[in-house]
């Protein structure tokens, strides 16, 4: 039974590390900020979850399970919020890679000139 848990832990840790590598490659290869937030969430949610699950299966201690579960829960709660804030700031500072967008309904709904407005984001 012990070896079974170890094998599962090893698979989880290697898969999670590979997801982190995929995210890093995406950080380098993706063309603009909004598309780079997409690979950024991979190690934050699935990769981290898999690595921490593997570590918890390897350590097999109650405290480790509690702390690692807390880390995963915090990541699940906070990473969408952080991504949303960064995307919002990117749109407000005119840093969204317009030439690659297929549909841009937000700009159509903001009739005043984007370049002038983006300098100081108002505190709404």
């Amino acid at each position: 039974m012990t070896t079974f848990f170890d094998v599962v832990a090893a698979i989880c840790m290697i898969t999670g590390s590979l997801l982190a590598l995929v995210a890093a490659i995406g950080q380098v290869r993706m063309p603009d900020l909004l598309s780079r937030t997409h690979p950024a969430t991979k190690p934050q949610v699935l990769g981290l979850g898999l690595v921490l699950l593997g570590v918890a299966l390897r350590l097999r201690e109650p405290e480790a399970f509690g702390l690692l579960a807390l880390v995963i829960i915090f990541q699940l709660v906070t990473s969408p919020v952080a991504s949303h804030m960064i995307g919002r700031a990117a749109v407000r500072t005119d840093n969204r890679g317009e030439e690659r967008l297929v549909v841009d309904e937000l700009s159509e709904d903001r009739p005043q000139g984007r370049a002038d407005e983006g300098d100081v984001p108002d505190q709404r």
């Binding site: 590598l21 950080q27 380098v28 702390l67 880390v71 990473s79 919020v81 500072t93």
Partner: protein, 94 residues
Amino acid sequence: MNTVYLVCVVVLTAAAVLTLARVTMGPTMLDRSVALDVLISIVICGLAVEAAWNQHLFTLPTLLVLALLGFTGSVSVARYIRGFDDIEDEEDGA
């Protein structure tokens, strides 16, 4: 089991180096903030793998602190960023 840890450490190191490349390339502060978020996740993974390698629990509270610090860092950068901060583009007159 040692080879598994070694593979994990090598892969995570490569990921961290690639992410650091993006942090240095930029070009804006938001790009760096996203990349630093990824880097913090990779550091958390690395510390967790190290804890499993040496079979201890000392670094696990650090993982919690790092998870929350990464969140507050990127949110505050996104909240207080002002305008377009690509210095090279500003020099070109954009």
